[in-house]
Symmetry: C2
Subunit: 201 residues, 2 copies
DNA sequence: CCACATCTGTAGCGAGCACTACAGATCGAT
DNA sequence: ATCGATCTGTAGTGCTCGCTACAGATGTGG
């Protein structure tokens, strides 16, 4: 039995293009016509490879998360909790205003509120945002065990705070905030982190 | 010449219902069928009164902004910049988790990224968010003149920071963050505000 | 009471949506 | 060379979308 005609496009390259469309227009705002045009394929190829529009989003999110995890590994590798926070915020400011990508972050731009037919899309995005917050929290738990964070510091609270600021920068970036504006926000946020992280029990 | 048959519904009450639908499903996720059902009117009444789906959104945003301005007046009336910041953040935490409303904030849930046919919706929302930021900045400029904020404090930077945190809390609220979680974020953020606001030139 | 203006409900319009049937093309296995 | 399997491009499918034509209802001014 034969193995069939081989796929004529690179799935990862196509996913990168789809990612950009979802990023710029949101899940519901992105049409199959726009997606297929950006991916340089026709609808049947899309559906054979990814099953549905939502399947394509998940595949794009998987790819996005891959890159993000590699990036987070670098951030979490900083020697101190304070430097983790600084890298996290500053690199967020830069990434969200990188002219190579649409402004903001796919996990926020993708869609916070959706129609009844796409109700699980916001959940999917939220789960991936929470993953980043969990990574930060785990890192801060370790920092506390290492006496790098004070006894009064709450790893979950600090991680949630950083996550909130990062999401807030997303919103600002999507409405045209400059890189300098986001860096300023990051710098101010860092003050709170420093204050909060030295707290005693 | 007669004045015609009078309108059989209350426009403001209908706008409150429309607001909730946009808030929960976003602009693109909200359908005319859902809107008319919530407003207890039929499509021709909607279009006679508001012109289009986008016209309805703007009317709903105007009404939202009215309430928000009344609320901001109370916030900005606090005696010191620090108390302004505290009220702003804490009341945001409460408002975004008020069970009487959908979670988050309409100005963020409404849609950060939209399809090509609704490209100006994100602008409309961003403009209203910026208005709040401007109000904060103006208040902090006054606080600086009153020697309530240090010479080194930057009113624009502080206002942008608070605005970013508020938007970040929106994102967290929309994915199910509790009121306590948001208050914790607000409390941590306030530390940064205090640090930054006493800065000398 | 009548003419006119505006609203209301029914019913449905064209357009665009996500998605797919189908036929031809291209592979591996025999 | 031929077959089965899988991909590709064309050309649609049915459905839902935002929106509206129309006729009847309900008000005011003369």
């Amino acid at each position: 039995m034969g193995m069939g005609r081989p796929r004529a496009f690179d799935a990862d390259a196509a996913l990168d293009q789809a990612m950009e469309v979802f990023w710029r227009h949101g899940y519901e705002g992105a049409t199959i016509a726009q997606l297929t045009e950006a991916m340089h394929i026709n609808p049947p190829s899309l559906y054979a490879a990814f099953g549905s529009k939502e399947g394509l989003l998940k595949a794009a999110l998987d790819r996005y998360t891959e890159k993000r995890d590699a990036w987070m590994e670098k951030v979490l590798g900083a020697p101190t909790a304070r430097e983790v926070a600084e890298r996290f915020l500053m690199e967020h400011a830069d990434a969200q205003t990188d002219p190579a990508n649409p402004p903001g972050c796919l996990l926020v731009q993708g869609g916070l509120a959706c129609g009844t037919g796409s109700a699980n899309v916001p959940f999917e995005l939220a789960a991936r945002r929470n993953h980043t917050e969990d990574q930060l929290r785990d890192r801060f738990v370790r920092a506390k065990a290492d006496r790098d964070l004070g006894d009064g510091a709450d790893p979950a609270s600090l991680a949630r705070y950083l996550s909130a600021v990062a999401s807030g920068m997303c919103v600002m970036a999507s409405s045209g905030a400059t890189r300098e504006a986001l860096r300023e926000i990051a710098a101010v946020s860092l003050k709170a982190f420093e204050e909060q992280s030295k707290g005693d029990a």
